[in-house]
């Protein structure tokens, strides 16, 4: 059973599409890094997984259960760190942990959890209003660990942490994975994702531009591809057919002159290249084509550039 599985997951606010037809799969016991520039739709995707936000279209299953049904029961088995939520300033760190432990029906020790994220025994008894940004984030991480969850969903867990905190976070993520938990975390920093992830996905403008095994992506075998295809004629049918191929993220007519119309097609995986070419051929004649493989860095940096014009 997958820890997370989404199918065409989509969120629109009015006419604006924030998340577009995302297919994600996170297996039990793996660390999945969800990478993308700020504003790409990462938090909205996570909000849908945690049923804070209702999908416009598509489905999401977390630990085998549809997020739209019985979301409260799933939460017994998930540790959650949502996007920058406020803590209760008047409550101590210990009271937060106690409340979470009671709510989860878990038998945990608040002090042991605090110790694990490096919160000192004196600090954990003080009201959270007196905490620094980094201490608050450490407490949020500890709260996500309550009850030994089967899945951790962490939205930008490194935000507000100092370098020592980030190192500690990495250790915790790996410890949790070794315990058998799946970890799904988002970040806008490529290095942080590269360091701990087994698999990653890159989200740009609400679309999953690239996803797969980190080693494969780095070595280029599973890399994204940009296809340039020159044909004799471009019809609407060709475009629709190509767009319906699974790993196609984008398909556009780049040169529509009648002599040599050409298509630019972005693929999230190299494997789909042949299928795309076959699809085009069934509609029109291919005059010429070229394929360019793109590295993790190039896709990510392109995305960042696109997001901040």
């Amino acid at each position: 059973m997958s820890a997370i599985r989404t199918n065409d997951l989509t969120k629109q606010y009015g006419s604006q599409t924030v998340v577009s037809k995302i297919d994600l799969e996170v297996e039990a016991g793996e660390v999945y890094g969800f990478l993308g520039p700020n504003g790409a739709g990462k938090s909205t995707t996570i909000a849908m997984l945690l049923s804070y936000v209702h999908p416009t279209d598509g489905t999401a299953r977390v630990l085998g259960r549809d997020v739209c049904e019985g979301s409260a029961e799933i939460k017994h088995r998930i540790g959650v760190l949502p996007e920058r939520y406020q803590l209760y300033d008047r409550l101590s760190g210990r009271k937060h942990l106690r409340f979470a432990i009671d709510s989860m029906g878990a038998d945990g020790d608040p002090d042991a959890l605090a110790d694990r994220v490096g919160l000192e025994a004196t600090a954990v008894r003080r009201p959270v209003g007196e905490y620094s940004t980094g201490m608050k984030q450490r407490l949020r991480i500890a709260l996500a660990l309550v009850g030994k969850p089967d899945l951790l969903v962490l939205d930008e867990p490194s935000s507000g942490l100092d370098p020592a905190g980030i190192r500690l976070l990495r250790e915790i993520v790996l410890e949790e994975r070794d315990r058998g938990a799946a970890v799904f975390f988002s970040s806008h920093v490529l290095e942080q994702v590269e360091e701990v992830s087994d698999r990653i996905g890159i989200l740009v403008d609400g679309e999953l531009r690239m996803s797969g095994d980190l080693e494969e992506l780095k070595s280029g075998t599973g890399a994204a591809v940009e296809l340039e295809v020159e044909t004799d004629a471009v019809s609407r049918e060709v475009l629709t057919a190509v767009k319906s191929v699974d790993s196609v993220t984008e398909c556009a007519v780049t040169d529509s002159s009648p002599e040599a119309p050409s298509l630019t097609i972005s693929l999230s995986s190299n494997d789909a290249k042949a299928e795309v070419l076959r699809t085009i051929e069934s509609h029109s004649k291919i005059e010429d084509f070229s394929a360019e493989e793109r590295s993790l860095e190039s896709v990510f940096e392109e995305g960042v550039a696109e997001a901040s014009p």
Binding site: K75, P82, Y85, M104
Partner: protein, 289 residues
């Protein structure tokens, strides 16, 4: 029981933030002040008369305001700060959160109300003698029920509203409708049907409409349950104002449907249920971003 977890946490928050103490102090202050004036101004007051003044500004004006203040932020406040994501990240459903907040805040305000009544009753007992306790207990029960209805309305508003500002605006609007504007609404409706204004003894249907207002229902419960007060004659002389009790009692339509405790209970239960139900349906479908 996750509703209990949320409610308990809410009560603990109210104690820590001193909201409980402030609410108690305000309600107690008003009810004790009213009692003090009655006991000081009326010549030879008896315990029955003093008990009649357990209903007054504290229940009619202060309690609805406190209820709205205690409740209007319950859901929308936690949505705006993002605390809601913490609560819902734990195994609490949205229904649990809504009900937990309602129970917690009703408990806080009910504690303030009970504190105020106990103080006022003690005051009567010490100065003029023990008032009739059973009718008073029944009345206090009605006030607690009304407290729950007012908190339910406030929590319902806070579950529907998208921002705190909008929640407080709707709450103020509702308060004005229920306190200042309601008689015009009722008279207007009567006029629309009969082309004249209701007299001293209005027909049952218009009295029922009038009592759909939970504050009217609460105030009528005082008329029905508390000992009937003798009329008070107030005389202003050069030495000041004095008031004396006369023997004559006012006549009322005690037989009417709206004077049935069961009817009044039904109205208040309706106002406990409806706002929570509407609030839940809207909150259930809301996106928390």
């Amino acid at each position: 029981m996750t509703v209990v977890d949320i409610a308990r946490k809410d009560v603990a928050d109210a104690i820590r933030s001193r909201a409980l103490w402030v609410a108690t102090a305000i309600f107690l202050g008003f009810i004790v002040l009213t009692q003090g004036i009655v006991l000081a101004v009326v010549e030879d007051p008896d315990p029955e008369l003093a008990a009649r003044f357990l209903e007054g500004p504290a229940t009619e004006v202060v309690l609805p305001i406190l209820g709205l203040l205690v409740g209007y932020q319950a859901i929308v406040g936690e949505r705006e700060t993002g605390n809601m994501k913490f609560l819902l990240g734990l195994p609490h459903s949205r229904l649990d959160v809504l009900l937990g907040k309602f129970v917690g805040r009703t408990a806080v305000l009910a504690a303030a109300v009970l504190g105020g009544f106990l103080a006022a009753i003690a005051m009567i007992a010490v100065t003029v003698g023990l008032p009739p306790l059973i009718p008073i207990a029944a009345y206090v029960l009605f006030v607690v029920l009304s407290t729950a209805a007012i908190v339910s309305i406030a929590v319902g508003i806070s579950a529907v509203a998208e921002t705190r500002t909008r929640a407080i605006s709707v709450a103020i609007g509702g308060y004005l409708l229920a306190t200042v504007l309601w008689s015009y609404v009722v008279d207007g409706l009567y006029y629309a049907v009969n082309r004249n204004l209701p007299g001293a003894d209005p027909p049952t249907w218009i009295a029922v409409v009038d009592h759909l207002n939970p504050l009217t229902a609460m105030s009528t419960s005082a008329d029905v349950l508390l000992p009937e007060a003798s009329q008070i004659a107030i005389t202003a002389t050069e030495e000041g104002v004095s008031a004396t009790q006369t023997e004559q009692t006012p006549s009322g339509t005690t037989e009417a449907l709206v004077h049935e405790p069961l009817f009044l209970t039904a109205v208040l239960l309706f106002w406990i249920t409806l706002p929570l139900a509407v609030g839940y349906l809207r909150f259930r479908d809301a996106d928390l971003s």
